[in-house]
């Protein structure tokens, strides 16, 4: 079978899922518009036209926010080497990549756990604790205490440790007493947020003076991650490179190493893994440690490099998004990176959409939920697109 054909068939369900979800999202924009709803009965065609126009405006704002404004890009091209114009033209797409960095990390972390058959919903908590680790490292070792490169490495190591520790708890409990990781990781997400709240509102060493707001000191004064683009005002730092290297490492680990093989075996059939003499308990704990460490590394790099501050809500909805990314990407590192980039585009595009058309970015959560549903039920997705009005064969039902 030719490779392109194989690729295309592999991409069919994920791509369809995202498109169908965006389409349903558009319907949502139309039918939550109060003006449209108000005119729907008296002037249905006009109202629908208005709604479709609004949705088109919203999505074109989303595209411009994600990739950049064609007009600005044209100006930059015409100007030749004008740095300022180029910076403005490239900012949207660069920011989209910046937005995808945490998603790549947590998506990879969650994928390792999924591959081992563990439904780690604790990406947000592990990411948060990694951010705590990175922040502590930056405050302790940054600001000239150690040379900058060493401080950066320490930030990453502390992040790894923070995330791994937080993931060890559910991993250990799952392996030893069979506690459901679904519940324990959810609870640990809440505890992590409360813990950060405690740190940034009670600990003088961490809290930003004059200690009124619950946020940490500005971390850029302590550690600055080097940028990787020639234009200084574009803030893409080494985080993305570490993210891509992590993806390569995870890919090697899962598909080329013995331990990775054991983890995947445990994920596919835990009984068979045990029978073959692979320790199920140690597989679970290893997978959770790696999973948490990757998410934690992301938390540390993003807190120190991009956000430059620790706050209780630092994880945002990254934990949810990561689940969608892992599933859409087929828990394969390459798929995760690609999907994270798409979601990064959506995320940054969505924020511009919110500013210009006041359509809340929360819509993306809904779209993510739809994408997960479609990916998890491929028959459903293909059914919708193929023959929306014919019921699927009975073989699916009973």
């Amino acid at each position: 079978m030719n490779r392109i054909g194989a690729m295309a068939s592999k991409l069919r369900v994920p791509a369809l899922s995202i498109f169908v979800a965006l389409f349903i999202g558009a319907l949502f924009i139309i039918f939550t518009d109060v003006e449209v709803l108000g005119r729907l009965l008296s002037d249905p065609i006009g109202a629908l036209g208005l709604g479709v126009g609004r949705a088109a405006t919203a999505y074109s704002a989303l595209l411009r926010g994600a990739f950049g404004d064609p007009e600005t890009i044209g100006k930059a091209l015409a100007s030749g080497g004008d740095v300022q114009l180029w910076a403005r033209a490239l900012r949207p797409i660069v920011e989209s990549v910046v937005a995808s960095v945490p998603l790549i990390f947590v998506g990879l972390g969650v994928s390792v756990a999924f591959r081992t058959g563990i439904f780690n919903i604790g990406g947000a908590g592990q990411y948060t604790m990694g951010a705590v680790g990175g922040t502590l490292a930056a405050l302790i070792f940054g600001g000239g205490v150690t040379p900058a490169p060493i401080a950066i490495i320490l930030v990453m190591i502390f992040g790894l440790i923070g995330g791994a520790l937080w993931a060890f708890i559910p991993g250990f409990l799952k392996a030893r007493v069979g506690a459901s990781e679904v519940i324990t990781t959810i609870m640990l997400n809440f505890i992590a947020a409360q813990f950060v709240f405690f740190l940034v509102s009670n600990v003088e060493f961490i809290q930003k003076p004059p200690r009124i707001q619950p946020v940490s000191k500005e971390l850029s004064q302590f550690v600055d991650l080097p940028g990787i683009l020639p234009i200084e005002s574009l803030r893409l730092d080494i985080g993305i490179i570490v993210a891509l290297l992590t993806a390569v490492a995870v890919s090697w680990f899962l598909f080329r190493s013995t331990r990775g093989f054991e983890l995947r075996t445990a994920g596919l059939n835990i009984a068979a893994a045990k029978y073959a003499g692979m320790g199920a308990a140690s597989s679970i704990i290893t997978a959770m440690l790696i999973s948490g460490a990757i998410s934690g590394l992301g938390g540390a790099l993003v807190a120190v490099g991009t956000v430059k501050q620790l706050s209780p809500g630092i994880a945002g909805s990254v934990g949810f998004t990561a689940i969608a990314i892992a599933l859409v990407g087929g828990t394969r590192p390459s798929g995760v990176v690609a999907t994270a980039l798409v979601f990064g585009l959506l995320q940054h595009g969505g924020s511009l959409m919110q500013v210009t058309t006041s359509i809340p970015i929360e819509m993306l959560l809904f779209i993510q939920a739809l994408v997960i549903a479609f990916i998890a039920a491929p028959e459903l997705t293909l059914g919708i697109v193929k023959n929306p009005f014919v019921r699927r064969s009975k073989s699916v039902t009973k």
Binding site: K10, A179, T184, V396
Partner: protein
């Protein structure tokens, strides 16, 4: 196409094997299980002993401090009755209780009814803790009790929803999403119609709709039930936040529900002190007590309950004797959805604010913890919800009085307790054996 299909089926299997159902293998050697129970009993005794020692220690340091409490004697906000108790006496009682429980646990081993004893001692412990932390400041206990209930009602009914669906064999982590949707739709329905009853009814209906969607994904498409639940949780958070920002915030007349007020039960509500606590509450409270009792009876004493439990434990056996497992699971999910949506409407309708973004704030997940803590028994689960409610009420009370204790620590308590409970460190609980497993009807 075939490849993607295969891989997604693989995932379903993968995590089916990791669901909490395999907490305790059902038929694994009886002696091994007995041994495990013995160990758990000893761990419990050890924990109780630690608590007893701590209590004795606190008692010895509390002489001379008075715990000042107040009750509203005739009605909420009316006249207060003040009284004070020596903190040392309260802690003395708690210490005695813990010592007694420790001894009983040691003597009776696995047979000891430790859940009930925790249920008895927990309120005393919380009150004693409050008195100690208040350090002389007066606390109104009526407020404490009502705020306990306002937390326990959604969590308790949410837990009941979890119990009904998991007893039927469908893992239900979507309670949170249903609470959230029930809260929003309840608020909107109540605001638009101007009829108080429309809120809970609409909330229950949207909960049922989501629940059927979950069942449909899980039963028809055999989507992993944890993933399906996650879909609902994320989707509900997204839709409700989106609709709030886009409609409810600019047009706030859609978010001014008719609040469901407390009702005074004639005669009983005039009993001094007890009246305002027990007989002047939200109708939701009486409804939840009724629902808990009703479903306890239904699950354990009726044919429907027997079939429900059979479908959750051994669906193939139930199918063999002619139970339509698929239909039964759909119906159970319908009931679970009605309950969860109803519970959610309480969140928006009991206070004054209507719906707010993420207004359920994790109560649906705490409800799952109550399910596990209560060993899938409605009454125990409601007890757990009350205990969690007390922790939350104590936090609110203490932070309102400016007591110098980081509120984050107390606020994390329900989550930490949940982890300890789920970990089964204090005794294993066994989930319905087939919860989370798709069922193939021949």
């Amino acid at each position: 196409m075939s490849r993607t299909k295969k891989s997604s089926k693989g995932r379903v299997k993968e995590s089916a094997s990791s669901t909490p159902t395999d907490v305790a293998p059902q038929n694994a050697g009886d002696s091994a299980e007995a041994h495990q129970q013995q160990v758990a009993a000893r761990i419990r005794a050890g924990l109780f002993a630690i608590f007893a020692a701590v209590s004795v220690f606190i008692t010895s340091g509390s002489f001379g401090v008075d715990g000042n409490f107040a009750f509203w004697s005739d009605s909420i906000g009316g006249e207060q009755v003040f009284f004070s108790v020596p903190v040392a006496l309260l802690w003395g009682i708690v210490s005695f209780g813990f010592i007694a429980i420790t001894l009983l646990q040691l003597l009776r081993g696995a047979k000891f009814a430790w859940r009930a004893s925790i249920g008895i001692i927990a309120p005393a412990l919380v009150i004693a803790l409050l008195a100690r932390l208040l350090d002389g400041t007066t606390a109104n206990l009526t407020v404490f009790f009502t705020s306990t209930l306002s937390f326990a009602i959604p969590v308790g009914i949410g837990a009941l929803a979890g119990i009904v669906s998991e007893r039927s064999g469908i893992l239900n982590i979507a309670v949170e999403g249903k609470l959230l949707s029930g809260a929003m739709v309840g608020s909107i329905a109540s605001s638009i119609t101007g009829v108080a009853i429309a809120g809970p009814v609409a909330g229950a209906l949207i909960g049922a709709l989501l629940s059927l969607f979950l069942a449909w994904l899980g039963i028809r498409y055999k989507v992993d039930q944890i993933i399906a639940g996650t879909v609902i949780n994320i989707g509900a958070l997204g839709i409700t936040s989106f609709a709030y920002l886009r409609i409810l915030q600019p047009y706030s007349e859609y978010n001014r529900p008719i609040g469901i007020d407390t009702v005074d039960i004639p005669l009983l509500s005039h009993i001094p002190i007890l009246g305002p606590i027990f007989f002047s509450l939200s109708p939701y409270f009486y409804a939840s007590v009724g629902l808990i009792l009703f479903f306890t009876y239904m699950i354990y004493r009726t044919r429907w309950g027997l079939r429900l439990r059979a479908a959750g434990e051994q669906p193939s056996a139930a199918g063999t004797v002619g139970v339509d497992v698929v239909k039964l699971r759909y119906r159970a999910m319908l009931i679970a959805g009605l309950l969860a949506g109803f519970a959610g409407s309480y969140i928006a309708l009991s206070g004054t604010g209507g719906f707010g973004i993420n207004t359920s704030a994790g109560k649906g997940f705490i409800a799952l913890a109550a399910v596990i803590f209560g060993a899938w028994n409605p009454i125990y689960a409601f007890g757990a919800a009350l205990i969690f409610g007390m922790t939350s009420a104590a936090t609110t009370l203490l932070s309102g009085l400016g007591v110098s204790l980081p509120p984050q620590i107390l606020l994390s308590m329900p989550y930490i307790v949940t982890i300890i409970v789920v970990a089964g460190l204090i005794g294993r609980v066994r989930a319905p054996a087939s919860a989370g497993r798709p069922y193939d009807q021949g």
